[in-house]
């Protein structure tokens, strides 16, 4: 799959809404994409999409779970006030990026709207120019009359960003929800490569729900799937925006990151390093002193404990409607995952040690 094809697949995924705990549209789209690549597809009680690609090894076969989250950050309607909406965030959002964003309100039907700050002329003059826009200063303008708005929209309705994705610079893609649709694209590339390669283990994939709120999908899917190993694939912070501490970010387009810290199984980390070298995938070690703030945190402590790994794709402007990734990094993540899955043999678990 070249950059243009990958960009087309990703743009298709980005255009489906999937706010935390309401992942229906992206789940159905992803089910269509994964159907030809998998032997079984099911949906969990909390809305995660599970898939199995059977290995060629003897039964009972061990299994590896690769998880990436489907949900993305967005907003929820709090109040309908004479045709305008007050909103609250779903997931971690900086209100300062919101003025001027086009949105889709998922009311009785899809209603387009525009996130706007109160005009400066209407703000309390006490509120100085240095004070940033807060959620309470923001409205969604539906451009509808008060009665039409009240008929179509209720408190609790979800609001998704309506920013369309576009390609940029040298093989970059900008768009909403790339955290973590980029990870889902990497899973998809991994599955495509595994159609051409033998693998003895069962490869389980999960597009998890609710990650941006409470990791609900990963916490529960891991019990249903009960894998022997788990890998979370997510986005990490890329260099670029000014004012970022250099040691906490990774260059865009120069490779993926392998997480390292208490959440990560050290033996599994070493196996991933070796797989990356074999697959000629450049990588950086991402030191994570505590929680990783990804599905990995839940996978590690699921059931009786699962050796867990985290593979991340550098991404700029995380949790904004214009996140930016390098397509080549997504391809690298897919290649690494396929290489690792294909290398799993019957004795792998016995050889895997913490030391």
């Amino acid at each position: 799959m070249d950059d243009a094809q990958l960009a087309a697949v990703l743009k298709d995924l980005l255009n489906e809404p999937g706010l935390s705990a309401n992942e229906g549209p992206i789940r159905e789209r992803l089910r269509q994409v994964w159907r030809p690549l998998l032997d079984e597809i099911t949906v969990s009680r909390l809305g995660s999409l599970h898939g199995r690609k059977r290995g060629q090894g003897r039964e009972p076969r061990p299994s590896i779970l690769i998880a990436a989250h489907m949900d993305s950050v967005g907003l929820m309607v709090e109040q309908v006030v004479s045709g305008f909406l007050r909103v609250r965030p779903i997931g971690w959002l900086d209100p300062r990026i919101l003025p001027g964003q086009p949105v889709t309100v998922h009311g009785r039907r899809e209603v387009p709207g525009l996130l706007v700050p109160a005009p400066a002329a209407l703000l309390d003059p006490q509120q100085g120019a240095e004070q940033a826009i807060r959620f309470e200063d923001l409205w969604v303008d539906l451009g509808l009359s008060a009665s039409e708005a009240a008929r179509l929209v209720r408190p609790g309705d979800l609001i998704a960003f309506a920013q369309l994705p576009f390609e940029m610079g040298d093989g970059l893609l900008a768009g909403k929800a790339l955290d973590d649709r980029a990870g889902l694209a990497a899973l998809t590339l991994c599955l495509m490569e595994l159609r051409l390669r033998a693998h003895s283990w069962d490869v389980m994939v999960a597009a998890t729900s609710g990650e941006e709120e409470n990791l609900a999908g990963a916490r529960t899917s891991s019990f249903e799937i009960h894998p022997d190993l788990a890998v979370a694939v997510d986005a990490t912070l890329a260099a670029g925006p000014p004012g970022q501490p250099e040691h906490k970010v990774f260059p865009l387009g120069a490779g993926i990151t392998l997480g390292w810290g208490p959440i990560i199984h050290p033996g599994l980390f070493r196996q991933f390093e070796q797989a990356a070298r074999r697959a000629e995938v450049p990588f950086f070690t991402e030191v994570m002193p505590g929680r990783t703030q990804t599905d990995a945190d839940a996978l590690q402590v699921a059931v009786e404990g699962i050796p867990t790994m985290l593979v991340s794709i550098p991404l700029r402007y995380m949790h904004t409607p214009l996140e930016v990734v390098a397509l080549r990094d997504i391809r690298r993540a897919g290649r690494l995952l396929a290489e690792f899955c294909a290398s799993l043999d019957e004795g792998f678990l016995q050889r895997l040690t913490l030391e």
Binding site: V81, S82, F84, W92, L93, D94, P95, R96, I97, P99, G100, Q101, P102, P112, L114, V116, P117, A118, P119, A120, A121, L122, A129, E130, Q131, A132, I133, R134, E136, D137, W139, D141, G143, Q163, F166, E167, M168, G169, D170, L172, A174, L237, A239, G240, P241, P242, G243, Q244, P245, K248, G253, Q293, R316, Y317, M318, H319, T320, P321, L322, V324
Partner: protein
Amino acid sequence: MPRKPPQRTRATKSPAARRKAAAPWRPPDLIDLARRLSEASGVSGDEAAVRRIVLESLQGRTDQVSVDALGNILVRCRPSGRRALRVMVAAHLDEVGLIIVAISSDGMLRFETVGGVDERYLLGKAVWVGRDHLPGVIGVKPIHLSGPAEVARAVPVDSLRIDIGAASKEAASQWVQPGDRVVFATRFEARGQLLLGKALDDRLGVASLISLVLDPPANIELLAAFTTQEEVGLRGAQVAAYALNPQAALVLDTTPANDLPLGDGSENAAYNTKLGAGPAVYLADRGTLSDRRLVSLVVEAARAEGLPFQFRQPGGGTTDAAAIHLTREGIPSVSLSVPARYLHSPRSLARREDWLNTLRLSRAALARLAPDKLR
């Protein structure tokens, strides 16, 4: 005083127009015109793309079109009767935006604002850089690395960068030069009554003025000025008014509505205009006290034609009228605006009927304009 000769004069009918003469001429679709004008880049001082659309729309249809030293398009439409008033109608071509000032070693672009961009809207927006609409993003440090104290503070424009996906200064320099203008990357939308797009200020006025020029009122000598550099100090209008030397002037623009509900639930008495209430007639703004005779003429025309109108609340803001009415010995002037929300942001919102009624009202007012109205 003799009129300054126009720098470039176009023939009444181009050869292309004569060839096409067989097919019946149809005026351009206004919504399509608004779309093309809204999506064109025309930051003050670099209005070429917008100028091109206007000149194409007028080609072969008007008496005399010229482009002056500041890039204003000046059109003189001959009246059919004698003793017709020379009436200037102005709409500005330019929009607020950004300008690239430097390229950093990491390939990021530094910029400054041109005109009164509402800076609260800049973070996390898609932009088009330069005349070829190179896509870029005004990036922001993710919330993951910003503490609560930082999120509570507005981000100064100085600390923002445009990301075009270039890995180095050398790579970026192949695509961008300091001085290139930048606009918000916004596609125009017409959805039922709603019009959404960038630069509705003042491309709606420009589209209206094109429509007037293509079918000019016969009772006046219509002197149309598509002005440049309004957003940086009404600079185009100043010289256009001098060159056209009109006896009266009408300015077509847009004005903020500020008609949102208030956060504390109290009545919004500080609105400027209201969307859906019709064309906004100016009585007084920061730069102009409107000519009372012209205000009366507009009101009379609205009542006679059954068109809605509203008085814009007197207060801040200016239009080209501020420069025009002080030109030469003084020119009686009035402004008529389409009420719109979120001007000077990535996406403004106006209502189709407000716009079309503004055009209808300007036409009706001009049709009633005779020398005795100014006595």
